[in-house]
Symmetry: C2
Subunit: 112 residues, 2 copies
DNA sequence: TTGACTGTTAGCCATATGGTTAACAATACG
DNA sequence: CGTATTGTTAACCATATGGCTAACAGTCAA
């Protein structure tokens, strides 16, 4: 269970670790798009794009609806929630530590 | 320039895309640790750990201070800030369409 | 029906990733 | 000194990743 959760997180972070895949997600945040609309200006071949889409889909980051000969892509916001939560928690811990250090330094200044 | 920024983001996301590396970062959030302290219970060899540390270091996620024969590792909170910001922004955009996300959350609740 | 359009699969290639064992370097300690 | 401890590098292996071309599948439209 904890293992499969970790695997989900792995896939999510891998999904956003490539600039083209991030661009796709950014564009889908504006709304549903077809594959062509989302990637027409990408400097790679169609098969390469197809592979990136599969990575995003298997990470659960996007959902595909086949509509005639085009595939409409939709963002699945919930899927990246876990990844966001991990970074947010890590960030909170780090900031708390910074606050503690800051407080300590301030006390030193005031006291000494 | 925008390219190198993307490359930085790439490295950051790659850094947190492996469970052992995330565990290292989680433990370092509690404070500075030596390599052994941070990874003594990891089910992999020392060279494997060494490689993970290098990934984290090159992503700027950690800083290493060689102290005698041990290496003390420290979290570099700022380095993951960019990654956090990307996810946070993406999350803000999709939250704007919460009606769409709601469907998935309800599905998750019902399913689990 | 013929052809154009949208996108995927199959197969290939180069490089990256994640792991291993063996050997090494540097430090600490008896 | 000799030896244990901490961690790295070197060399190797299997698999994954990211790209390509060629070929295909399905849909739309003339």
């Amino acid at each position: 269970m904890a293992n499969s959760q970790a695997a989900t997180l792995d896939r999510s972070f891998v999904a956003v670790a490539h600039p083209l895949r991030r661009t796709i997600l950014e564009r889908l945040a504006e709304g549903e798009l077809t594959v062509g609309e989302a990637t027409h200006d990408f400097p790679v071949s169609k098969p390469a794009i197809s592979k990136h889409l599969r990575v995003l889909e298997e990470a659960g980051a996007i959902v595909r609806v086949i509509d005639g000969r085009t595939h409409r892509l939709r963002l699945n916001g919930a899927s990246l929630e876990e990844a966001y939560a991990w970074l947010a928690r890590q960030r909170a811990l780090w900031e708390r530590k910074l606050d503690v250090v800051e407080e300590f330094l301030k006390e030193q200044e005031d006291g000494a």
